[in-house]
């Protein structure tokens, strides 16, 4: 394979179809940004959801020096309330297991946490989640109770918002992705037509399919790759603006936020998706419009 030759043919193609190539780059950029953003939202949602999320409405954290009679008193108090449906007990060991699971993507946090620092707790499922205030005030001041948390209620709204945002992103991305596939199809068809004299001669002198098709495929996958790079840059912007600036200032410490590693982890998939979509579409188009 003479890459220099294939590359120079590709550059000729670039110049010849400049406007179409720019359009391809832009649509791929938008489509991949939508996909990547939806993926980040998904990760952001998961980052905050711990083991108990969705199962319970109230967590009653116990003090470090809680005694067995205190534990029993709290449990029977909870169970006697008509609003309570189920009471689960989470020991320190179980808390540590769930903590490790939730933060397995942040190993330095797990390493720096002392297992004994995690409190034991009662996790309470309510018959009517809206009545959490009654249950909370009933146990709040009992000996052995450190803190009563009803974060899950607030978080559900955030997750509904993130989930909605994620779906909008996916729909937009899907539509723009379809547009870019059609654009690539047209672009390759036009390129094949405008270079039919060259490809005709190539065929005649016995060039192989690979040599004839490679410049077209390389041209469009390079455009898609550029779109992927732009979409990757957009991922950093989304993390900085929407997650760090938007969500953090609105919800502060009650959410666990995705880190830069989530952004870096998304980028290879974006680039790969862009290149694959372009290559497959271009290859399919050439089978039809470039007689070899």
């Amino acid at each position: 394979m003479r890459w220099r030759f294939v590359f120079s043919e590709m550059m000729i193609g670039f110049r010849r179809n400049l406007s179409m190539t720019v359009a391809t780059i832009l649509t791929i950029w938008i489509a991949l940004t939508g996909l990547g953003a939806a993926w980040l939202m998904h990760q952001q949602t998961n980052a905050t959801k711990d083991y108990w999320f969705g199962k319970i409405q109230i967590s009653v954290f116990l003090t470090k020096d809680v005694t067995q009679p205190e534990r029993d008193a709290i449990r029977s108090q909870l169970q006697s309330l008509p609003q309570v449906d189920q009471v689960y007990y989470e020991s320190k060991q179980e808390a540590w297991i769930h903590f490790k699971e939730q933060f397995k993507s942040v190993p330095q946090l797990v390493r720096n946490t002392d297992p004994s620092a995690l409190p034991e707790s009662y996790r309470v499922k309510l018959k009517d989640p809206k009545k959490f205030q009654i249950v909370a005030s009933a146990v709040q001041d009992m000996p052995g109770v450190d803190q009563v948390a009803a974060e899950a209620q607030a978080l559900k709204k955030v997750f509904r918002l993130l989930g909605g945002l994620q779906n909008v992103m996916l729909i937009v991305a899907g539509a723009v992705l379809l547009a870019s596939v059609l654009l690539i199809f047209n672009n390759v068809r036009l390129a094949a037509f405008s270079r039919r004299r060259e490809t005709g001669i190539m065929r005649l002198v016995g060039a192989s399919d690979v040599y004839i098709q490679a410049p077209f495929i390389l041209e469009i996958t390079t455009a898609a790759f550029i779109g992927g790079v732009l979409a990757s840059a957009a991922m950093f912007a989304i993390k900085a603006l929407i997650v760090d600036h938007g969500l953090k200032s609105a919800f502060g410490g009650i959410l666990t936020y995705i880190g830069w590693d989530a952004v870096w982890g998304t980028i290879p998939y974006l680039l790969l998706a862009g290149v694959l979509i372009a290559a497959v579409t271009a290859f399919g188009t050439l089978q039809r419009y470039l007689r070899v």
């Binding site: 003479r2 030759f5 190539m202 005649l204 060039a207």
Partner: protein, 229 residues
């Protein structure tokens, strides 16, 4: 070198066959004129040799290979053994003479040093030394056809197919092209030339295969154009 056995070619668009039971045997090193009116099947004959078309019936051997048994991916290798020249030259307008000829080698992956060596040789052979850097539109018709011949011959094919190569040229220029094809033939290359230029056929006195309505009506060594009638 080229062998047609009872070859019939039907196109979907026409009820009349383009070739009708053609049996022809062309030996290595021969120079053959394919004559006949427009639509007599000359171009179809050449397209079948290149495996650009498949015969509807019959068998074709080219360079020892039966074409219907040649798989798709081996077609390029077949075409590397065949050079082709057309009436309309088919040069790339945005490339120089040298680049046009080199293109034929680049696209089959020949190394650069080989290209740098053989392109000047073949340009010298066709009489274009000194015009390597001209663009096609700066050349006369005869010179453009010489570039096309150089491109067809640069890979030293065993067979050279020429479809009306002098069709767009004046008689004096045509003689020059014929001398060139004759010289290429003397290197051992089999030349098959489709034409309806009677002067050329008469003056060359080579084998003549005449087609009429897709049938071979004459196959004569050292023939002239209109002998049969």
């Amino acid at each position: 070198m080229i062998r047609f056995e009872s070859v019939t070619k039907l196109y979907a668009s026409s009820a009349r066959p383009a070739l009708d039971g053609v049996t022809v045997d062309i030996e290595k090193g021969e120079f053959v004129f394919l004559v006949g009116q427009s639509g007599s099947g000359k171009s179809t004959f050449l397209r079948l040799v290149l495996k650009e078309e498949k015969p509807s019936r019959g068998q074709i051997w080219v360079a020892g290979k039966e074409l219907s048994r040649l798989s798709h991916w081996k077609v390029p290798a077949l075409r590397r053994q065949i050079g082709t020249v057309f009436q309309d030259f088919r040069l790339l307008p945005n490339k120089t003479v040298r680049e046009n000829v080199a293109f034929a080698l680049e696209v089959i992956g020949k190394p650069r040093h080989t290209i740098a060596q053989v392109v000047p040789e073949v340009l010298d052979l066709v009489g274009l030394a000194g015009k390597e850097d001209r663009m096609p539109d700066e050349l006369s018709g005869g010179e453009q056809q010489r570039v096309a011949v150089a491109r067809a011959f640069v890979n030293r094919p065993m067979i050279l197919l020429a479809d009306e190569p002098t069709g767009n040229l004046d008689p004096a220029t045509s003689v020059g092209i014929m001398r060139l094809l004759d010289r290429i033939n003397r290197t051992g290359t089999t030349v098959v030339m489709a034409t309806h230029d009677s002067h050329i056929v008469d003056s060359m006195r080579r084998r003549v295969i005449e087609l009429e309505g897709g049938k071979v009506t004459r196959d004569q060594s050292r023939g002239v154009y209109g002998y049969a009638r």
